[in-house]
C-alpha cells in the first residue's frame, strides 16, 4: 500500500549530497571530489539493481516454467496430506489446507500476480503519458485543468478507490487490471507533464514548430523520446506498486477470485491458519516482497543510471 517508492512529487531539490562532508562541512572541494562519492554509491546501487533484475528473472522463470517441472499439480487436492510443513516431505514448500502443493500454487499465482502487475503498468503508463503529454504540451487552461484533475485523483487513497471500484465490477483478471491501472496513472502523468513542459520550450521543439510540424508530430517524434527516461523509471516502480495493490485487494477478497490463484488471495485464509500453519501466510507474502523489492531495486538503479537528477536520496 505504498507509492512503490518515494515519489518525485516532493519539491526537494533531489541531490545526493555534496562531497564526503556531513555538517562538518568543508570548503569547496572540487566537483571531482563529489563525483567520487557519487560513483561509489552508484556502483552499489547498480549492484542492487542487478540483484533486483536477477530476482525478477528468477521469479518470472519460476512462474512461467515451474509448473512444467513440478512433481505436483497446483490443482491436485490431497486431503490426506494437507498442512504439510515445508521441507518435511515430498512437497518442497509444504501443502495448504486442501493439500495442494504450495510450490506449484506459488508459481501459478506468480503467473497471475506478475502478469496483472505488468499489464496494469502498461495501461497506466500509456494513460499517464498521454495525459501528461497533452497537459505539458498545450499548457494554459487545458494543462492546468488536467493537472488539477490529477491532483484531485491523488486525494483519494488508492486502496479506498480500488475497493470501491472492485466492488462495482465483476472481478476478473481484466477488470482488476484495469482498475489497478486506473489508480496508478497519476504519478506518470505528473512526471511526464513536468518533463514535457520543460522540453517544449527548448530549441529542438521550437524549431520543429517553426518548420510547421503538426502538434501530434511534435509530441510523438520530438518530445516523448526525450521523456523516455523518467517514463521507464516510473514504469518499473509502477509494476512494484501494481503487484502490491493486487495483493492487497485480493487479500481483502475483492481482487482475483479463487479458484484463480494469486499471491494475494493465497493469503486470504492465511490468517485463520496462522497458528497451525504459518507457512501458508509467510510463503506468498515472501514471494510478493521478493518481486516488489526486485522491481524497486531495479527502478531505483535505472533512475540513477538514466537520470541522476531525478534521484531522491
Amino acid at each position: 500500500m505504498t507509492p512503490a517508492s518515494a515519489s518525485t512529487e516532493l519539491p526537494l531539490p533531489s541531490r545526493e549530497g555534496a562531497g564526503g562532508a556531513g555538517p562538518q562541512v568543508g570548503g569547496s572541494p572540487p566537483v571531482a571530489a563529489r563525483r567520487a562519492g557519487r560513483g561509489v554509491r552508484r556502483f552499489i546501487r547498480h549492484r542492487l539493481a542487478l540483484i533486483g533484475f536477477a530476482t525478477i528473472v528468477v521469479l518470472a522463470l519460476a512462474a512461467a516454467l515451474g509448473p512444467y517441472l513440478d512433481p505436483f499439480n497446483d490443482l491436485h487436492i490431497d486431503i490426506l496430506h494437507r498442512f504439510a510443513p515445508p521441507f518435511s516431505g515430498p512437497h518442497l514448500l509444504g501443502t495448504d489446507q486442501l493439500g495442494r502443493d504450495m510450490l506449484a500454487r506459488l508459481e501459478m499465482a506468480g503467473r497471475v500476480s506478475l502478469t496483472v502487475g505488468c499489464a496494469a503498468m502498461v495501461l497506466s503508463t500509456i494513460t499517464g503519458t498521454v495525459i501528461g503529454v497533452l497537459a505539458g504540451y498545450y499548457g494554459g487552461a487545458v494543462g492546468a485543468a488536467l493537472m488539477r484533475f490529477v491532483d484531485a485523483m491523488l486525494c483519494f487513497p488508492s486502496i479506498f478507490l480500488l475497493l470501491a471500484l472492485a466492488a462495482f465490477v465483476q472481478p476478473s483478471l481484466l477488470s482488476i487490471t484495469v482498475i489497478i491501472a486506473a489508480t496508478g496513472w497519476m504519478e506518470v502523468a505528473r512526471l511526464v507533464e513536468a518533463q514535457i513542459r520543460s522540453l517544449r520550450d527548448r530549441d529542438f521543439a521550437v524549431a520543429a514548430l517553426a518548420l510547421g510540424a503538426p502538434d501530434r508530430t511534435i509530441m510523438f517524434r520530438e518530445l516523448i523520446p526525450n521523456a523516455v527516461a523518467p517514463i521507464v523509471v516510473a514504469s518499473t516502480l509502477n509494476v512494484a506498486r501494481a503487484i502490491l495493490l493486487e495483493s492487497y485487494i485480493s487479500f481483502l477478497g475483492y481482487g482475483i477470485q479463487p479458484p484463480v490463484p494469486s499471491w494475494g488471495n493465497m493469503l486470504n485464509n492465511a490468517q485463520e491458519y496462522l497458528t497451525t500453519a504459518p507457512w501458508l501466510a509467510i510463503l506468498p507474502g515472501a514471494a510478493i516482497t521478493l518481486a516488489v523489492t526486485g522491481f524497486n531495486f531495479l527502478g531505483d538503479g535505472l533512475r540513477d543510471a538514466l537520470d541522476p537528477r531525478l534521484d531522491v536520496r
Binding site: A4, G22, P23, V25
Partner: protein, 316 residues
C-alpha cells in the same frame, strides 16, 4: 503569510470541487447506480424501482443530480446507511477516533524513528549503517503491510504471547493500559512504510542542508557539533518534511485500512471494508469522500504548519 494561506485555501477549494465530481462519477459507476441495493430486494417490481428512482431524483438530468447531491453533502446530509439507517456522517464519526488514534500514534513513532535513522545516515554517509538503512528502507517499502501485520501477529502474539492478537480492548478490561497494549502492534505495523519513506527523505534533506553556507558559518563559529546538527542543520532540514507529511496522508489512510483489517481495529478502514461487503453504498461513498476531505484538510494543515515554522513565509 495571509496571502500564502489564502492561495492555498483557494487551491484546496478548487480541488475539493473536482474531488466531489470524481466522487459523484464513482457513485454512478456502480452497476445499477444508487439503485443497486434495491434491485437485490426480492419482490421488487420495475414499477417499484421506477418509483424509488423518481423519489431519489434519478430520472433527472445528471448535472442536476450532481447539484442535488452536492447540496446535501454541503448541508451535512450524507445519506443514511442501508444497514441500520443511521446518518452516514454519524456512522463515520463513530469510527473516526479509532483511526485517528492509530494514525497519530503510528506517525509519531515513525517520525521519531525515521528522523533518527535519516539524520544518522546523513551524518555517517556511506557507512555500513547508512547502506543498511537505505537498503532496509527499500525493502520495507516492498513489504505488503498486511503481511507484515500477519508476521508480527505470528511472532508477538502467537509465538511470544507478548501482544494481543487484535481488537481494541480485551473483553472486560477497558483500561488505558489495555488499550495501549492493543495499540502497539497495529501502530508498529502501520509505521513501517512511513519510517522507510521518512528516513530516506530526512537523510536527503539533511545532506542538502549540510552543504549550505549557514552550516559552514555555524562550524566556523566553533559551535559544539550537537548544536550545529540540531539547531542549524536539522531545523532547516525539517522544513520540507512538513510538506512530505501532508503528501503521505493518502498512503497512511490506505495503510490504516489494511492494518485495521488485520488487527480487527474498529476504525474507518474496517467500516469501509464491512460496508463494501454489505454493498452499503451511502457509507461507501461517504467514506470515500471523507478520506479525500481528510487528505485535503491534512495538506492544508501541513501548509499552515509550514507557514508558521518558516519565518520567511510567516513574516512577509
Amino acid at each position: 503569510m495571509t496571502a500564502y494561506l489564502l492561495r492555498r485555501l483557494g487551491q484546496s477549494l478548487l480541488l475539493l470541487w473536482i474531488v466531489s465530481m470524481i466522487g459523484f462519477a464513482v457513485l454512478h459507476l456502480a452497476p445499477g447506480g444508487p439503485l443497486a441495493q434495491f434491485t437485490l430486494t426480492p419482490g421488487m417490481t420495475q414499477a417499484d424501482l421506477a418509483r424509488i428512482a423518481h423519489q431519489m431524483g434519478l430520472d433527472r438530468p445528471l448535472p442536476l443530480q450532481y447539484w442535488e447531491w452536492l447540496r446535501h453533502m454541503l448541508a451535512g446530509d450524507w445519506g443514511r446507511s442501508y444497514r441500520d439507517n443511521q446518518p452516514v456522517l454519524t456512522v463515520i464519526g463513530g469510527h473516526l477516533p479509532a483511526t485517528l488514534e492509530l494514525m497519530v500514534s503510528s506517525t509519531l513513532l515513525a517520525v521519531v524513528l525515521g528522523t533518527w535513522v535519516g539524520v544518522l545516515g546523513a551524518l555517517r554517509q556511506r557507512s555500513l549503517f547508512d547502506y543498511l538503512a537505505t537498503v532496509g528502507a527499500m525493502v520495507a517499502l516492498s513489504i505488503p503491510t498486511f503481511w507484515f501485520g500477519l508476521v508480527v501477529i505470528y511472532a508477538f502474539s502467537v509465538k511470544l504471547d507478548w501482544l494481543p492478537v487484535g481488537g481494541m480492548y480485551t473483553i472486560g478490561n477497558g483500561s488505558f493500559a489495555d488499550y495501549v497494549h492493543h495499540l502497539i502492534a497495529p501502530a508498529m505495523v502501520l509505521a513501517l512504510v512511513t519510517v522507510a519513506i521518512w528516513s530516506r527523505y530526512m537523510r536527503s534533506s539533511m545532506l542538502e542542508v549540510s552543504s549550505q553556507d549557514y552550516v559552514r558559518t555555524a562550524v566556523a563559529k566553533g559551535l559544539p557539533r550537537r548544536v550545529v546538527i540540531l539547531r542549524h542543520a536539522l531545523r532547516n532540514a525539517l522544513l520540507p518534511m512538513i510538506t512530505l507529511a501532508g503528501l503521505q496522508l493518502p498512503t497512511l489512510l490506505g495503510g490504516a485500512l489494511v492494518t485495521e483489517t488485520v488487527f480487527t481495529w474498529p476504525g474507518m478502514g474496517r467500516l469501509y471494508l464491512d460496508s463494501i461487503g454489505y454493498r452499503d453504498y451511502p457509507v461507501i461513498m461517504g467514506l470515500l469522500m471523507f478520506t479525500a476531505l481528510l487528505v485535503l484538510l491534512g495538506n492544508l494543515g501541513a501548509d499552515l504548519l509550514y507557514a508558521i515554522y518558516d519565518p520567511r513565509i510567516r513574516l512577509d
